[in-house]
Every structure is written in structure tokens, then in C-alpha cells.
């Protein structure tokens, strides 16, 4: 039965139904409501047995998760922005050790300048850390992806980030249907760790590996990520069977028939984009939308298949790699290598700047005329930049 819930509350309750045994967290906006919710569920005893550990930093949060996961406990944490960067060293460690930790990233910009609002710079900055990254389009999908994340993580023995836009999703109240406890129990079986710290059968985890085997270790990690490209849709299909709702996929596609232009995007902006292309369709302009649900591993073949018929592709980026442009564009270009598709980048919605339908509409019409530069900043306030340059603040 659908309920009217805040995104964070929906995620907290869903995670609890996955029965994590250790939850650790350090507060950072806009992740706070999720871990607050879980702390209540643990305290009141509705999530048990579970240890909720209040730690002194995100580095410690993920380190506690590493210890717990290596001991065979299902483990969850959540963070955002500066917190994710503060974890960076431990992120690589968790994936290197093959620990199936699930973590929510409530996507938020990175400072300076400090900014608590939404964009994708945080998780994108960690795209090469060996974690899977799934991006939710709305809160229903955020809920559904979390349940699947535990299955995917434990089947592949890799950690998974479920990324949901800060505020836009975490703090939004909308109709969400949570999977029931019975459904989750049927779908996510008891965690069977691949290896575990156990005095009965002592093993060494985290040995020092030299040049003679390091490449092979990394090769295997790459292979595991490629396997995820098969595992994610399979588990998604199973999830659909159990819950009757669509399961996670690699990519999503909308309004693709006769679309010359296709916009590629991730996260909550997909909703606004779909509304915008509906408006454009009513006016006789067909623009398709491809959503990237699985950002890591990057589903290059699925992206290529989805974009095969597009003459022009606009990659809408919620992050920027200064001096380069958009991080997602590089992946899309790679996926379309050898095709003559025209690819442009539009950087939009940094640090919580609203991405409005009128702006998208104008941009897409321009794209249709082939008038967009290789790199465009949506709604760039030029007078503000000129003022900053005049006062020297821009330097």
C-alpha cells in the first residue's frame, strides 16, 4: 500500500527491512534523516539484532563498516559530499577487500565554496573506487534499489552505493510503496559471507601484494564489475517478480521513437526532463531521454544500443571536471566510439541550482538546431561572472 513518506524515512524503513546487523553513521546534510530514522528503529527494537554505532567521522564510519562486514555482518552506512570524500581511503579499501557494504549517498556538492545542496560531484569523484553506483530517479526507485543493492553486493562480494539526490529526493514527500517485510525476506536471504574472520578457521585478510600479483587482483575486480552488468538486470527481474514493481536496470529509455535528439542524464532531473520532452512532443518535437541507473560499472553496450539511432546526444551533467567538462560525457563518448553521433555536454544544476522546464526546453530546442557548443552551462549568470572578474574574486 502506497504511503506518503519523506524519501529519507522511506529509505530508512526499507534498509531496516533488509536486516542489517551493523549500521554506523556520522551526520551530514542531507543524509541525516536516514540515519536518524535507523537509530530510532534500532533503539525501539524494531530492527534487531542490530548495532547502531555513532562514530567520530565518516572515515571511522566506513572503517567500522569494514570491520563488521569482514566479520560476516550485513552492514550499512550513509553519507554525502564532504563525508564521502573524507571516506575516500576507506572506499578503495572496502572494495579491494571485496566487502558487500551498502551505502546511501545523498548527493551533494563539494566545497569550497561550501554548499549543502544537490549535485553529483561527490559520488562522481569516487567513480573509480571500485564500488557499484546506482542512481535513483525518484524515491520509489531509491527504495527499490536499496533492497536490490544488498542482493547485488552480497552476490558479487562488492560494495554498492545507492545515490539519491540530496533534498530533491531525501527531503521530498511523495507516494512510496515500501516492499513488505515478507517480500524483503524472500528476496534478500541471510548473508553468506565469502570469507570471514573466525577463530575456528583463521585467515589473513588484507595482506601486502606486490607487483607479481597486483595487476591480477585489479583484473579480477574489473571482471567482477563486468559481471555486475549481467547480475543487476537479473536481480532486477527477480525483484519485479516478488514486488510487482520494476526492478533496477542498467539504463532507462523514454520517448525514443523517432527521436533525433536524445538527452542522457542521471537522478531526479530525469523527471523534469520527461515532463519537458512531453511538452516538446505536444509541439511536434521528439526528444528522447536515456537515464543512467547503473553508473558504475558503466553499461557501455546498453548505452550504445539505446543511443544507436540518435543523431545528436545531449549529456546533461550534474558535475564538472574543471578543465575537461562533464565526467559522464567521457563515458558516453566511449560507448559511442566509431559512430558519427554529435555529442554535446550541458552542465546544469550545480550546487542545487534548480533545473527548470523552461530552461531545459530552450536548451533542447537549441540542441535540435545544432546550435549548442560542445560545452554549455545551463542558466549561466554572465553578469555575475563579470562582476566577480572585475573585483578579482574570480581569480
Amino acid at each position: 500500500m502506497p504511503e506518503q513518506l519523506e524519501g529519507s524515512v522511506a529509505v530508512a524503513r526499507t534498509v531496516a527491512r533488509c536486516r542489517p546487523q551493523v549500521v554506523c553513521a556520522y551526520p551530514i546534510t542531507p543524509q541525516t534523516h536516514i540515519v536518524e530514522g535507523l537509530s530510532v528503529l534500532v533503539r525501539e527494537g524494531s530492527l534487531a539484532p542490530c548495532e547502531f554505532v555513532n562514530v567520530e567521522s565518516e572515515f571511522a564510519a566506513l572503517s567500522v563498516a569494514i570491520g563488521a562486514s569482514a566479520t560476516g555482518a550485513r552492514t550499512y552506512t550513509a553519507t554525502a559530499s564532504q563525508g564521502l570524500l573524507y571516506m575516500a581511503e576507506a572506499l578503495y579499501n572496502a572494495s579491494g577487500l571485496g566487502l558487500p557494504i551498502v551505502m546511501t549517498v545523498a548527493n551533494r556538492a563539494i566545497g569550497a565554496p561550501i554548499n549543502i545542496w544537490n549535485d553529483h560531484s561527490d559520488s562522481m569523484s569516487q567513480r573509480d573506487c571500485g564500488w557499484l553506483q546506482l542512481f535513483a530517479e525518484d524515491n520509489q526507485q531509491a527504495v527499490d534499489l536499496h533492497v536490490q543493492a544488498f542482493r547485488i553486493a552480497e552476490e558479487l562480494s562488492v560494495p554498492v552505493m545507492v545515490c539519491m539526490d540530496g533534498f530533491v529526493l531525501t527531503h521530498a514527500y511523495e507516494q512510496v510503496e515500501l516492499p513488505t517485510q515478507e517480500q524483503v525476506d524472500a528476496f534478500v536471504p541471510l548473508y553468506q559471507p565469502r570469507q570471514v574472520l573466525d577463530p575456528q578457521a583463521p585467515i589473513t585478510i588484507g595482506a601486502m601484494v606486490g607487483p607479481e600479483a597486483f595487476t591480477e587482483v585489479r583484473y579480477l575486480a574489473h571482471e567482477t564489475q563486468l559481471r555486475a552488468l549481467e547480475v543487476i538486470p537479473r536481480i532486477g527481474a527477480e525483484y519485479a517478480e516478488v514486488t510487482g514493481r520494476p526492478g533496477g536496470a542498467l539504463v532507462s529509455a523514454y520517448n525514443m521513437t523517432d527521436a533525433d535528439i536524445v538527452v542522457v542524464a542521471m537522478g531526479s532531473v530525469l523527471g523534469t526532463l520527461k515532463d519537458t520532452v512531453d511538452e516538446l512532443a505536444a509541439d511536434g518535437t521528439q526528444v528522447g531521454v536515456v537515464g543512467i541507473t547503473t553508473y558504475r560499472p558503466f553499461p557501455a553496450a546498453a548505452v550504445r544500443a539505446a543511443l544507436a539511432d540518435a543523431a545528436r546526444v545531449v549529456v546533461l551533467e550534474r558535475a564538472i571536471s574543471p578543465g575537461v567538462g562533464g565526467p559522464l560525457t567521457a563515458d558516453v563518448r566511449g560507448a559511442l566510439a566509431g559512430l558519427s553521433t554529435e555529442i554535446v555536454t550541458v552542465v546544469a544544476g550545480l550546487g542545487g541550482r534548480a533545473i527548470t522546464r523552461p530552461s531545459l526546453r530552450a536548451m533542447l530546442l537549441e540542441a535540435g538546431r545544432g546550435a549548442l557548443d560542445l560545452l554549455t552551462f545551463l542558466d549561466l549568470d554572465l553578469p555575475q561572472i563579470q562582476r566577480a572578474q572585475l573585483t578579482g574574486a574570480g581569480r
Binding site: 546487523q21 542490530c50 554505532v53 562514530v55 567520530e56 570491520g67 573466525d198 601484494v209
Partner: protein, 333 residues
């Protein structure tokens, strides 16, 4: 006529002596010892850290009847024991990062608790750098939450694994690769010190103790006591490093003993924030022979004797002696 046969070793308190009565023997003297850290590791000859770790863990294993999990910070101990595909560890052992051993151990303890397996105990261990510098926040967090972990710091007073650089545990005037013996004030500068056992005590955790590899009976007793207790416990063990201190590899024990006999390294135990036991100095010596025996202090004796610097170091030793009443002048503890 019968004469009493005197076994030469009966009177010896050597750690390997099996002729001592059972209660005085070390775990290490027993053939049933666990050999947590077995042969084949790559430590330098005379490494105090390897010695300390072996005694500490074998005792913890005995105290827990083998139900032990060990978390290790990055550092010499981690590197010389686990060159893949080999491992010198006979215990379940996890290395994650340099600065997070205390937090990882909290995670292990939390998981064991959630799984109802609290009979399995957790030891975290690291060098002084991994403990008092980069791992300090995680350590303090673990103390403050009173997580059920014994953390053992093997203090060799520097970043040895990376080639003997200065850490916050490096003593004043000591030469390291980043505090070279050049200029008017050679070696490490005199700071305010970072007394981590005292900081641990300020957290009022159940148990804080110091020990050295010169008194392995004492080290074992302290690990045993620590494992009798639950909650956060901290053991700070002085482990001379022949490579970093520029000492002879057969002098590790002697150097550690001098560190205690001078008062530079006070040996004590504290429970719930209060000192409950101090090991008195039996043969008090000035700091000179301790410093002279180590190449890292060579610049204090040649080309000319730096009496001023030696006096400052002596003052630190004297302050410890007063503070912990190491000469028993206050009459018992």
C-alpha cells in the same frame, strides 16, 4: 649422605624457564603456546615489535582460549608478517588501513555482538604512528564509546616502515630521517610531548597500561589483566627498533630496560582512570648510558658532548620519576 641438587635455572626468572612454578611461567615458555606470529616473517633481526606482538598475542589467545580476532594497522608489523601469498599469522587477522585500526576493531566487535558471539574477543594493534598520530581520532572514538577492544600500541618512537621518520612519539633530540642531526639543535625538537597513555586514562576507560619488551612477564600479565576486563582497553608497549634507533640487534632488551631504569619510560597500570600499579625502578641509572647506546643520539656525544641537551632529557626522566614515584620515595603505591 644426600645433597640438595640445585638446578641452575630454578632461580632464573627468564621467560623461557620451564622450571619455574606454573603460576610464574610465561605463556611463551609453554609448549602449548599459540605461536600467533610464527617464524618466516621478515622483521629485522632483534626487532622489538615482533617480540612484543608475539608475547602479547599468545597471551591474549591463551586468555581467550583461542577465541580472538586481530586487527592490524599499516606499519612494519603488518608489512613484515604478510607478504602475499605468505602470512605469519595463526589468528584471524585483518589489515585495512594505516589510521583506522581502532574503528575497524569496533566494527568487528559490533558484528560479534550483533551475532551473539561475544565470547570472541578483539585486539587491535599498530605502531606509534598508526596510534598516536594518524589513528588518534579513531582511537579516541573507540575509547569514548568504550567499545570492547584491547588496543595495543607497539611504540618504536617513529615511522619505521617508511624509513624512520619522526612521529609524535619520537623523543626530543632523537635523529630521524625528517629530524636530521644537523644544525645548532640537531635531531627532534623539544615539544610538549604527547602522553597517549595519560590521554587514554583521561577517557576513564577500564584499563590502561604500559610495558616494555624488557619485562615480558609483566607484558604477559598486563595482557592477561586486560582480557579479564570488557570495554576499551589500551596497552602501550615500548619496542626498540635496532634499525631506526641504530642499536645492535642483540641489545633490544637491554635498551628497553635502560628506558625504564632511567625513568624515561614509566611502567604502570591504571584502571578506570586511576593508576593502580607502578613498576618501581630497581637500579636507577642516569640517561647517559641509554642515550649513548643508540646511534640516533650520537650527535649528543660527538664531536662534542651536548651537556645542555642531555640535561633537558635527564629533567624529563626525573619528572617521570616524581610523577609516578618510580623510586618508591612516597612509600608504596
Amino acid at each position: 649422605m644426600t645433597t640438595d641438587v640445585k638446578f641452575y635455572q630454578v632461580g632464573s626468572f627468564a621467560v623461557g624457564n620451564r622450571l619455574l612454578s606454573r603460576d610464574l611461567r610465561t605463556v611463551q615458555s609453554e609448549e602449548t603456546r599459540a605461536n600467533a606470529l610464527t617464524c618466516g616473517h621478515r622483521a629485522c633481526r632483534g626487532c622489538g615489535e615482533a617480540l612484543g606482538a608475539r608475547y602479547a598475542l599468545d597471551t591474549a589467545i591463551e586468555a581467550t582460549k583461542g577465541k580472538l580476532v586481530v586487527v592490524n594497522a599499516t606499519g612494519c608489523l603488518e608489512v613484515f608478517t604478510t607478504p602475499y601469498p605468505e602470512s605469519a599469522w595463526q589468528v584471524p587477522w585483518l589489515h585495512s588501513l594505516f589510521g583506522n585500526a581502532a574503528a575497524v576493531a569496533t566494527g568487528v566487535a559490533s558484528a560479534l555482538r550483533a551475532q551473539g558471539r561475544e565470547d570472541i574477543r578483539v585486539v587491535a594493534q599498530g605502531g606509534d604512528g598508526g596510534t598516536v598520530d594518524i589513528g588518534f581520532a579513531c582511537l579516541s572514538g573507540m575509547f569514548e564509546r568504550n567499545d570492547d577492544v584491547l588496543y595495543i600500541c607497539y611504540d618504536n618512537e617513529g615511522y619505521m616502515n617508511t624509513g624512520v621518520q619522526r612521529s609524535a612519539a619520537t623523543p626530543p633530540a632523537a635523529r630521524t630521517a625528517t629530524t636530521p642531526a644537523v644544525g645548532p639543535e640537531p635531531g627532534n625538537r623539544f615539544g610538549q610531548g604527547k602522553d597517549v597513555p595519560a590521554i587514554a586514562m583521561a577517557h576513564r576507560i577500564p584499563y590502561v597500561a604500559t610495558a616494555t619488551v624488557a619485562d615480558l612477564h609483566d607484558l604477559e600479565a598486563k595482557v592477561r589483566r586486560a582480557m579479564e576486563l570488557r570495554g576499551a582497553r589500551y596497552l602501550h608497549v615500548l619496542v626498540p627498533c635496532p634499525l631506526g634507533w641504530a642499536t645492535e640487534s642483540d641489545e633490544t632488551i637491554k635498551i628497553a630496560r635502560l628506558a625504564t631504569q632511567t625513568g624515561l619510560f614509566p611502567v604502570f597500570a591504571a584502571e578506570n582512570g586511576d593508576v593502580v600499579d607502578v613498576t618501581p625502578i630497581r637500579h636507577h641509572v642516569p640517561v647517559d648510558p641509554y642515550l649513548e647506546a643508540q646511534g640516533r643520539y650520537a650527535h649528543l656525544f660527538a664531536p662534542s658532548r651536548r651537556a645542555d641537551v642531555i640535561a633537558r632529557i635527564q629533567a624529563e626522566a626525573d619528572r617521570n620519576i616524581v610523577r609516578y614515584d618510580l623510586l618508591g620515595r612516597r612509600g608504596g603505591t
